[in-house]
Symmetry: C2
Subunit: 436 residues, 2 copies
C-alpha cells in the first residue's frame, strides 16, 4: 500500500525530505484584491465575500451570548466533560510565570531590563469544513488567556446548518472567549487584519485553515499584523523498531492519513518484518474508517523507509523535520534526547499522536513543512512580546560615551555621536562649575 525505500543514500535524502509544493500563483492576486476591497468597503466587502463563498450572510455576524448559551445545551454531557478535562491538562502545561523583568547592570551606571507583556488583542481562526475543530479552540484560546491577552477574538464559518458548530462555541465559552464572529475564509482573516466597522483589527492572528486562509494570513503578515506561523498539511513520522506493535503503528499512520489527502505520513524502521506487518495491519484497519477514501489517497504518496541503523533513522527524521514524531522503539526515551528538529514528540508505545491532538496538555498547533527547523509550536509565549528598557545615570553616560562616539563616527553617523556628546559636555561643564 505504501511505497518502501530501502537504505536511501544521503543524496536521495534531499528528495525524500521534500514536501509537495502548492501552486499559489493565482491565489495571491485574489487575496490582494480581497484585502483592497475590505480596506475600502469594510463590512460590505466582508458580506459580499461571505455570500459568494459560503452562500450565507448574517447581517450582524457577531455571535450573541444567548447563542453561546444555546450551544452549550446542544453539547452532550460526555463531550462537555471531555472538553473540560482536556482544557485542564492544556492549562496545566501552558501555565508559565508572567511578566518577568530582569535588570542587568551591563556597565557601571547602565541598567538594562526586559519585560514580557501580553499582546493586547489577538484573533483566533477556527476552520469550518467537514469536522468541527473545537479542540483547536482550546489550543489557541487557553494559552491566550493564560498569557493575559486582554481581548480574544474568535472567527469561524458556519456549518451547513448556517451556524457555528455548538461544540466550537462551548469550547470558546469555557476558554473565556467573549468576542465571537460567524465569519470564515480569507475574508475573516482580512477583517481581523485590517478591521471593519464590526470587527476591530487585531495585533496577531492564530489558527489553521485551507489554502485561502493560509495565503490571507501570509499576506496580512507582510503589512498589517503578526501571524502564528506558516501552515501546511499535517505530518507524522514514526520511527519503529522490532519491539513496536504493528497494530499501534498502523493506527497511528491512519490517524494522520485521515486528516486530508495531502497529509504526509512516513514510517522508518530497521525491521523489514515490522514494515511488512504494518502494511498488513493498514489493509485490515483502513476499511473500518469512515474517512477511508481520504486516508487511502494520503497513503499513496506516503513512504516506508528502511535503514539498518536506528541512529540513521533519527538523522533522517531531524533532516525531514516532522510536525509529529512518534518514537515506537525500545530505547525511545534515550532517542528522544537526540531529536533536534520536530514539532512534538511522542515517546514509547503508549503515546499515540492523537493524545497530543486533544488532551495530553501539549499544543497541537505545530510547525509543518520543515518549518520546525526554526519555528516552535504554540505556547503562552506566542501570545506575548517583550520590551527592553535602559536607564543611564550621568556616570553611566560618561562610562559609555567614548565607545558610542567612536562606533557612531566609524559608521558615519555623526548625529548619533552628538546625542551622547551634548550630554557629556553638559555633565562635565556642570561638574566644573560645581568645582569652582
Amino acid at each position: 500500500m505504501i511505497k518502501i525505500v530501502n537504505n536511501p543514500s544521503l543524496e536521495e535524502w534531499t528528495k525524500l525530505i521534500q514536501r509537495p509544493t502548492l501552486e499559489t500563483k493565482n491565489l495571491s492576486e485574489f487575496i490582494e484584491t480581497l484585502f483592497k476591497e475590505v480596506e475600502e468597503k469594510g463590512d460590505i466587502a466582508i458580506r459580499e465575500y461571505a455570500q459568494q463563498f459560503e452562500g450565507i450572510v448574517r447581517v450582524d455576524f457577531r455571535v450573541s451570548e444567548s447563542e453561546v448559551a444555546a450551544a452549550k445545551a446542544k453539547c452532550p454531557i460526555e463531550l462537555q466533560t471531555a472538553i473540560k478535562t482536556a482544557a485542564c491538562n492544556i492549562e496545566k502545561f501552558h501555565s508559565i510565570s508572567q511578566s518577568m523583568t530582569e535588570t542587568i547592570e551591563t556597565t557601571s551606571g547602565v541598567w538594562c531590563s526586559r519585560k514580557t507583556l501580553p499582546i493586547k488583542r489577538v484573533g483566533l481562526y477556527i476552520p469550518g469544513g467537514t469536522a468541527p475543530l473545537f479542540s483547536t479552540v482550546l489550543m489557541l484560546a487557553l494559552p491566550a488567556r493564560l498569557a493575559g491577552c486582554g481581548e480574544i477574538v474568535l472567527c469561524s464559518p458556519p456549518s451547513k446548518d448556517g451556524k457555528i458548530h455548538p461544540a466550537v462555541l462551548f469550547a470558546a465559552d469555557i476558554a473565556g472567549v467573549k468576542e465571537i464572529y460567524q465569519l470564515g475564509g480569507a475574508q475573516a482573516i482580512a477583517a481581523l487584519a485590517i478591521g471593519t466597522e464590526t470587527v476591530r483589527r487585531v495585533d496577531k492572528i492564530f489558527g489553521p485553515g485551507n489554502q485561502y486562509v493560509t495565503a490571507a494570513k501570509q499576506y496580512a503578515s507582510s503589512k498589517w499584523c503578526a501571524i502564528d506561523m506558516p501552515a501546511g498539511p499535517s505530518e507524522l513520522l514514526i520511527i519503529a523498531d522490532e519491539t513496536a506493535n504493528p497494530d499501534f503503528v498502523a493506527a497511528d499512520l491512519l490517524s494522520q492519513a485521515e486528516h486530508g489527502v495531502d497529509s504526509q505520513v512516513v514510517l522508518i524502521s530497521n525491521s523489514p518484518l515490522l514494515a511488512e506487518r504494518v502494511q498488513q495491519a493498514l489493509t485490515q484497519q483502513i476499511i473500518t474508517l469512515p474517512r477511508a477514501d481520504i486516508a487511502r489517497k494520503a497513503l499513496e504518496s506516503s513512504l516506508i523507509i528502511l535503514f539498518d541503523e536506528l541512529k540513521t533513522a533519527l538523522d533522517f527524521s531531524n533532516a525531514y523535520c516532522p510536525e509529529h514524531l512518534i518514537l515506537a522503539t525500545e530505547q525511545a526515551q534515550h532517542q528522544a534526547e537526540f531529536v533536534t528538529n520536530a514539532g512534538s514528540v511522542f515517546i514509547g508505545h503508549f503515546s499515540p499522536e492523537s493524545v497530543g491532538d486533544y488532551a495530553s496538555g501539549t499544543n497541537h498547533t505545530l510547525p509543518t513543512a520543515g518549518f520546525a527547523r526554526a519555528f516552535s509550536g504554540l505556547s503562552t509565549a506566542s501570545f506575548m512580546k517583550t520590551i527592553t528598557f535602559q536607564e543611564l545615570s550621568q556616570q553611566g553616560l560618561l562610562n559609555l560615551a567614548s565607545v558610542v562616539e567612536t562606533m557612531a563616527e566609524a559608521e558615519l553617523l555623526q548625529g548619533h555621536a552628538s546625542a551622547v556628546n551634548v550630554r557629556k559636555n553638559f555633565i562635565l561643564s556642570n561638574f566644573r562649575n560645581g568645582d569652582q
Copy 2:
C-alpha cells in the same frame, strides 16, 4: 521646522499613528523571478544579479580567513576597543540559561515537557551602502552564538572599493562568525533561503536591508525559511516635559532623522515652551551634521504633538507603538511602567537612543511600523526554538482514553479514536490474560 499638532482628538490619532506605505507592487514580481532563477541556476544566477546590481563579481564569494585577518589590521585600535566593549555589554544582557526542560505530569501517567534548542544554521544579512553597519553584526551574531547556533553565516555586499568594510569583518570575527560571503541585496537573501552550490540554505534569516532585501525576506518566509521580523524605516518617539533639556531632545531627534529620509520622528510634550526651544536647537544643530540633507528631509514629514497631560502622551505612544521611545521626563521611571507597546525604551535625560544602538547591551534590531504590538526585539530566544515531548504509561493511556475517544469522534476523526482504542484494548486484554 517640524509640523506641530495641538491636542489632536482621538479620531485624529488613527491618521497620526499611520506610517507611510511603501509601494511594492512591481517589487514582488522582480523577487519571484529572482528566486526562481536562483532555484534553477544557483551560483550562476547569484553572480548575474551581483553583476547587474553591484557591478562587482567575485568568482569565489566566500571570504577567506586571511581576508578577515587583513581586515583587523585595517581597524584603528580605538575602534577595536570600542567594538569589544560594546560586545561585552551585549553579551552580558543577552546571556540566558539554555535548553531548559520542564516536565509536568498533566494527568497521572502523562508526562509532558518542553525543550529549548538552538536553531542549527542561521543567516545574518548586513547591508552595505553609505555606512558600514558593524554594530548590527554584533547585535545579530552575539545572540546567535549565545543561543548555541552551530552554523552562523554572514552575507554582506562590498563597499565601493570592492570589499566588505574591514570593521564589519572585524566585528564578525570577534563575534565568532566563521562563514562569511561577500554577497548583497535580494540575491543574497535568495541564496540563504534556497541554497546554492556555494551557500548552503539556512533555517532563519536575520538583519535589516533596503526594500529589495525586505521584500526578499518576506517572500523567503512564505516558503523556504523563517525570518526575524518585518522591517521598515527606523522610528523614534520622544515624550518630553518641561524638565527636558532642549539640546538633548534636538540631538536625539536628529540622531534618528539622519538614518534616512524615510525615518519617522515624533516629539510629544505638554510644554509649548519646550517644543519651541527644541525647534530652535534643531535649527542650530542640524547645520553641524554631515548628513544634514537627509535629516532635513526626514524632519519635514515629522511631528511635534502637544498634549495637556503626559498621561495622554503615553496613551498616544502606546497607540503609535514606536520602535524607540525616549522618556525625557521628571517621572520617567514611573511612566516606563505604563509602556505597553514599544521596541526599546530609554528612561530619563541621560539615556539617548544612540547608547542602545551601540553599547548599552540591549538589542537594536527592533520591530518598526507598529509591529511592536505583537513582535519583540531580537534576543537569544530569536535564535532558538522549542520542541514538546509527551510520554504516557499504560495507566496514563487508560486515564486519557475516553477523553480522546469522545473528542475525536465528535470531530468525526475515527482514526484518531482508533489509535487510542487499539492500545486500550491491548492493555485491557493483557490485564485480563494476566488475571487468568
